[in-house]
Amino acid sequence: MLDNVIFGDNQFFGINHMSEEKADALAERFRTLEAITDVIDIAYDSGIRAFMLNTNARAKEICDHLRRNPSRYKDLVLYPSMPYAHKYATIVAEKGIFGAINEVILTDSSAGDILGMVGKGSRILFEKDILKMMQLLVDMEMKTFRDLNVKVIFLQNIVTDLLLGFGIKDIFAGFAEYVNKKYGVEAGFNTMNLPKLVGFLHECGVEDPIVCSSINKAGYFMNPDIESYEKTVREKRFRPIAMSVLASGAVRPKDAIDYVCNDLGIKSVVFGASSRQHIMETKKLIDNCC
């Protein structure tokens, strides 16, 4: 069962889709781990138990903090999203796609151990086996979350959508199967192309997939259009998680939640916020509707 309210993390990492100025201000505000954990504490104390966390450099610090305080966050569950594409972008620019993956995997000693363990130590072999490559990357990223309560592992949207365009079914089915088998959790997919992805996942044999996507009354970041989203949500079998429900402030909070939860009947919403008031109000709105 997915949580009704999932707390997002974009604000902690200076991400704001609407304004680069606001993004910089956020990056400055959340410079220290303490500033981040203060907000996590407010969210947790308001009753939020589920937290989405992208696997960027700050995620490690946050997870270390969670591990140091197990009793404080006893019921906390994580929805990690990986890989953090910006981390790879520079290495890809420098060394090419396969060079970057090699570098990331091979400079990571534990992933090297995994490589040894599975007995496929040939660099050439895993270069050409993208399923194996995907598994090694998942293992490497998952080390950040060791010993923590992970509920769903998400494939981040830049990667999901790039691969969706390629239409390689093995990867999507393989990812879902791998995280289930290895980590005992469900796979989730972040996307900017919900209708297309849901149809494709069904073709891949991923039944009732968990798909997280922008869903808002303004139609913002909903491709190809809001009508296709509404039709998909109403007619297709999948578990939607709505994000960007406020469309970066373009929709009033009450209308926003009302649309997502009442009009579309969506049961899970991810939202990020920085102030106590904003967190409490949004949580309450979702609780009342979902």
Partner: protein, 365 residues
């Protein structure tokens, strides 16, 4: 039944992958073949995509019956590949920059020789909603006669000396000028046209040993206005590449980035729903969804526009070769001007902390 356009890809690095993902599920496109020099890449593509792959583009062009090609190779190979594609009467989308010199770019445009082939260069800012909107506002005269502007671009692309890649090799089309400043200069050309001359140009290294990391220049127009460009791809303060355009006109000013723009007006403009003083418009206010999203609306919009031009048998007018050549010309003029500045003032060569002069001499050898 509609006949799909047959596409071939030449070069399959970061941009080739993105373009493929966008076009592979275009309802009117059938991607038939991919050419790349990486055997690993070709093996993976063959295994998972069941697509014909080539290591030599000439073999691909002669073996496949294509309608268009997407060229995403290092810039130094563009001229040769594009001319070979023109010989086969193919429509061409090429990554930016168009070519490495005005002479080379003019050669390609001349080679087209009036053939009705759709030609486009990947200057993706021309398909960004904010910049498209800003261009429309300028054309509508919202801020009156433009007096001056600045076009800036920053990113954390190069934070150490990277020697292994073509992007750090000047003769292959690497360096901040070709890689990043080209976008910033092209944005100025898109919004204001090609400047009549440039002055006070600087090309400076920050971390790179073989290429420049910073480019700045003044663009001068005979109609009386002027602009500056300032580009730094070694700025760790930016999480991702960021464009900032500031335009000052007689009736107000516009400040824009990829996500929003602000307008200051001395008098309200009811026709545009804008008040006197500051007005902010976020991309959420006017963004339109795309058929399939990968990395940004503008990436899909530029390719869909290209395909649409081919289907409609109409010339591409937003980012065609002739437009891209203007940007090439400005880049070349800035490079020459930077050299002249150094000849005029030899002092910077002696200063510690800047390697611009010796580096430039090496580029310009």
């Amino acid at each position: 039944m509609k006949v799909k356009l047959k596409a071939g890809f030449i070069g399959f690095g970061r941009m080739g992958l993105t373009h493929f993902s966008i076009l592979n599920n275009h309802p009117q496109v059938d991607v038939c073949a991919i050419c790349d020099q990486s055997s690993t890449m070709l093996d993976v593509l063959k295994k998972y995509l069941k697509i014909r792959v080539y290591s030599d583009y000439k073999t691909m062009l002669s073996s496949e019956k294509l309608d268009f090609v997407i060229v995403s190779t290092p810039t130094d190979s563009h001229a040769e590949i594009i001319k070979a594609a023109i010989d086969q009467n193919l429509h061409i989308f090429s990554e930016k920059p168009f070519s490495l010199s005005t002479e080379e770019g003019e050669g390609i445009v001349a080679y087209l020789d009036g053939k009705p082939l759709v030609n486009q260069v990947g200057y993706v800012n021309r398909f960004n909603e904010v910049f498209m909107e800003v261009k429309g506002l300028l054309q509508a005269g919202l801020i009156g006669e433009v007096k001056c502007f600045s076009s800036e671009m920053y990113g954390a692309t190069v934070l150490k000396d990277a020697k292994s890649n073509w992007r750090s090799k000047k003769n292959m089309g690497g360096g901040c000028m070709y890689e990043m400043a080209s976008h910033c200069i092209d944005l100025a050309v898109y919004l204001f046209g090609k400047p009549d001359r440039v002055a006070g140009s600087i090309m400076q290294s920050i971390y790179s040993s073989d290429v420049e990391d910073l480019v700045s220049s003044t663009l001068i127009y005979n109609n009386g206005y002027n602009g500056t460009i300032h580009v730094n791809w070694s700025d760790a303060a930016y999480r991702k590449p960021t464009n900032i355009v500031k335009i000052f006109g007689a009736k107000g000013k516009i400040v824009a980035d990829k996500h929003a723009y602000k307008v200051y007006l001395r008098e309200a403009a009811p026709a545009h729903d804008l008040f006197e003083g500051w007005n902010t418009r976020y991309i959420t206010d006017f963004a339109e969804s795309v058929r399939f999203y990968v990395r940004g609306n503008e990436f899909t919009r530029q390719l869909d526009s290209f395909v649409e031009c081919i289907k409609q048998k109409k010339p591409e007018t937003i980012a065609n070769f002739a437009e891209a050549l203007k940007t090439d010309m400005v880049m070349e003029e800035i490079t020459l001007d930077a050299e002249r500045s150094l000849t005029y003032d030899p002092v910077p060569a002696q200063k510690e902390g800047t390697r611009s002069s010796s580096l430039l001499r090496r580029f310009l050898k």
